[in-house]
Structure formats: C-alpha cells, structure tokens
C-alpha cells in the first residue's frame, strides 16, 4: 500500500489473572468484578464485602469476597505507532512504557502490541520485562491508524489465568483504516470483561465508550512529557481496585447481565463495568454498520 499518511491524517482531523471483572467458572458459578472506589480522586481503602451492594439485572446479590491488589497483573500495552507519533512523541511514548514496566511487580506480566494500519504483537504476554523494554525502544512510527481493529485483537488475546488483565491504550489521533465499527468493538469489550484504560491526546468518543463499557478510565495528555506520569497513574488506579466476587442468584443465566455496584453507605465514585454476557449470541454490535 502506498501510504496514505496525508489522507489518513486529514480524515483523522475531520473526525475529530484472570479476573475478567466478570468470569464464570465451570458453568456459571462465580462472577468477579473489578471495582474502582475513589473519593476526591483518591482510592478509598479498607472496604469489605459488607460495604458493597451489587445488583445483577436488578436483583440484589450477596458479595462473598473482596480482595485488593492480591493477584498479579497482566498488562497489555497497546500503543499507536502511526506516522503522527513519529519523532519526539514516540521517544516519550517509549519512555512512558518503560516507566510502566519498571513499576510492575516481579510476578506481574506485560505484553506489547503496536498499531498503525497494521496491528503487530511485538511481545507476547511475558514476565521478561527486559524483552518489553527492548521492544519499546525498537518502535518506529509510520502509516495510518487502525485503532478499533487493534483493540479487537488485544481483547481477543487476553490471557485466561489467575491474573488481573489490563489493557492500556495510547493513541494520538482518530481511526482511519479499521475494518470494525465502534459498536462492534465496544460489544466485544463488554463480552470479554477486561479493564481498558486509555491515554489520549485528543478527545475520542470511541475511547470514552470503550472505557465506560469495560469499567476503565481515560486520561488526556496535554503534553508528551506527561505520558510517563499518566501511564503510571493508570497502573496505580488498577492496583487500587477491589475485586468483588458473588454467585448469581435469582437471575436467568444466558444473555446480558446489567450490573450496578455501589457502596451501602458513604459517598464515593464507584466505577465498574456495566455488565457481562453469558452464552448467547450478540444482540447488537454488528461489526460494520458505520
């Protein structure tokens, strides 16, 4: 493909460890939800099962356990390496990724996926942080942007083990070449149940929807120097999350389960994914009405 950097940029300008938070083991038995609880922007510590009220499709559930920061993390770095990132921004991006890798604990793991129009798994999920660092510094920027397709691939590659998965996205522009629609990828995110955090340079409706549907967050970078700090913030936010478990009672098994999570008393911002799917085929989210 002759690359189309200019046109892609112009289109962009115009558009301005398991823990899937919800997981069924052996049938449908236990649901797990990653929950962020903050007050004044700071994590609220010391909460127990009795502090949380969970409704599954409107039916109150009994929270069985609450853990904080016990399981190791599996962090997927999903980084935009299209032409618009080339130069200083890419250097800052590599440093930010390195900062995140440095902040991982010994039993945490990381993988690196980069995307322009092509999505590239640079480093599969590994405990070998040196491999991730080396790959970060080998990145180069060129091409158009297939953000949605890259997210679909990252969601599909999430590990199924006893770690807490997190996808951390960085992009500085709008999608220009993806096959998949926003609705399709958001639907996948709801099904997979992985927390997705995003650091972006410009406002992006898709990233907002993606974060909302996964119980994640978005951060806006006002300068490239801020990237390192924001990447670390995203990791800290993940570590400060509670992991709630409950066994669903009084609700039908198949289909979409809407979740409501709140504190029984006290004021705080509670963020969790809006629900989870069991079994049935998608009711919505065709890949391609655009």
């Amino acid at each position: 493909m002759i690359r189309t950097i200019a046109i892609a940029a112009a289109i962009a300008a115009a558009q301005a460890a398991q823990t899937p938070p919800a997981v069924f083991r052996s049938g449908i038995e236990v649901v797990e939800i990653d929950v962020s609880v903050t007050r004044g922007g700071l994590p609220v510590p010391g909460l127990t099962a009795r502090d949380f009220a969970v409704a599954d499709n409107g039916v109150a559930q009994e929270v069985e356990s609450v853990t904080l920061d016990r399981l190791p993390l599996s962090v997927t770095l999903l980084l935009d390496t299209s032409a618009s990132v080339a130069g200083d921004r890419l250097a800052h991006l590599a440093q930010a990724g390195e900062g995140l890798v440095d902040a991982l604990r010994p039993d945490d793991r990381a993988s690196l996926i980069t995307f322009s129009h092509l999505v590239d798994l640079r480093v599969p999920m590994t405990g070998d942080k040196a491999a991730v660092r080396a790959a970060l510094h080998a990145m180069s920027g060129s091409g158009a942007t297939a953000l949605r397709d890259a997210v679909e691939l990252a969601l599909s590659l999430q590990p199924h083990d006893r770690t807490r998965p997190l996808i951390l996205i960085f992009t500085d522009g709008a999608d220009t070449t993806s096959w998949l629609s926003e609705d399709a990828v958001v639907d996948t995110a709801r099904r997979v149940g992985v927390v997705v955090h995003a650091v972006r340079v410009e406002s992006d409706r898709f990233l907002d929807r993606l974060a909302d549907s996964s119980g994640g967050r978005t951060w806006s970078a006002t300068s490239d120097r801020q990237l390192r700090e924001l990447f670390t913030s995203a990791l800290d936010e993940m570590r400060a999350r509670y992991l709630l478990t409950y066994t669903p009672k009084g609700v039908a098994r198949a289909g979409w389960h809407e979740l409501k999570v709140r504190l029984r008393s006290g004021r705080a911002d509670v963020t969790a994914r809006p629900g989870y799917f069991v079994g049935a085929a998608s009711p919505s989210g065709s890949s391609r009405p655009r």
Partner: protein, 280 residues
Amino acid sequence: MAGVGGRAARATPEAQRAAVMLHTDAGITLLSASATSLGLLHFTTASRIVNAMRSGRGDQLFERRWLAFVATVYTANGRLGDADRMIRDALSWYSSEPLLYVARGALVEMRIAMTFVDLRSGNQIARRDRAYDAAAADYRRAIGLDDRLAIAHLRVGWLHFTTHDPRARENFDAALTRATEVRDRYLVQLFLGAAAERDGRLDEAERAYSAAQTLAPGCQTPYIALARVGHALGRAAQAAASAAAFTALPEKSNDPWWDFHLGGFDHVSLAWLHAQAQAP
C-alpha cells in the same frame, strides 16, 4: 526536463512505456517516503511522456490506464487537487475510459471523508448525501461503459452498504460473478461478510470472511473480522484462535482493504502497467 516531451516523442513506444513506469515507480516510492516534491516531479515527467504518447495511434489503453492509476495515487496521498486536475484532463481526452470514472468516484468519497459533517445540520447531511450520489453516479457510469469492471461494482456496492441502501447486495453479487483479480475476489468476500453480519447472519458472515482469508492468508482484516464474529457468537476461544493465528503469521501482506478505504490506490492497474512496459 523541459525537453522531455520532445525527446519522448522520438522514442519507440516500448522505450516510452518503460520510461513512464520508471518515473512512476520512483514517484510512488518518494511519495510514500514523504519526499513529496521529488515524487511529484517524477509524476510530472511521466505525464509529459504520456502526453507525447497520446499523439500516437491505437487504442491508447496504456495511456488511459496510466492516467486513471496516477489519479488514485494522488488521491491516496491526499493530493486531491492534483487528482481532480488529472481526471478532468484525462476525461477531456478519453471520455469513455471507465477507470477514470472509478477514480473520480473514489476522489469524491475521500473528499467526503475529509470533510467534517455536523450530524445535527440537515444542510450538511444533504450536501454529503448529494456528494455520495455523485460518487455512485460515477461508478454506475463506469459500469455502463464496462459492465465487467468488478472494482466499479465493488465501489458502488460499498457506498450503498455504508448508506444502508438495499442495492448493495446485488452490487456485491455482480462483483462476485465478474471478479477475476484476487484483490476483487477478496474484497467482495469481505463485503459479503459485512452484509451478512449486519443482517445477523453470523454463520454466513463467518463463511465469507473465511473465504477472504483463504484468498489472502497474509492479510489482517479477515482475522480481525473472524475474531469479532467469534465474540458475537459467544465463542471466545474461536476469537482467540483467530487473533493468535494472525499474530503467528510469519509474514503479513498488504491488505487491499486499506487501499480501497483510503482512496483506491490501484495495485491491479500498477501490475498491468508494469506488464505492458515490459512487453516487447
């Protein structure tokens, strides 16, 4: 290079075609490396040679196809003004060349894509829809001139699909029966998959995407589409397998979807032009 046209006029047709393609290849390489001025200089030189060739006899198929091809290069590189001028000039010489209408339709589509449309503004939406109609009219004109042109059926079909026009399906079926190039057969399978998926016929979508994957096993899009269908069917393991299969590919290929989507850079025409330039 002022004397290029004069010297070219005295060269043999074989030498003319070879010179055109040397400059064309250099122009493409330089444009894709963001050396825009140098790249355009090579296209200007090639254009002078083609102008000299136009005074020759015969069907001038090489000249017509080269002009349409370079218009797609300009469009794919955001040189929409250059593409517009080239198409207008070329149509004044070859008004019955269908690929020029395909190139013009793609140019119109890119103009739409690069224009912000406020979806709250009825006027802006109406203007956009009129532009879509103009692109569709160009594709239909191309089909009228050469009904066998699969890429024209594909482009009008995709336009209809994106605007929820029910004629998309018949356009795709027409493309399917006419497609001989791998690129066109691949794209039609992707588009049939998209149409089936939108209608909720996920098994049929899966078959179409798998067919696309078989045609172009190194291309990214079928793997992504199949992963998505796997999720939509509630088959996470299938989605994971498709994603893993893509990441395990030893070599990835240029995906025709990217070129189709970003202005229609025409690799099929490029290959044809090269073959003509090398022919005795």
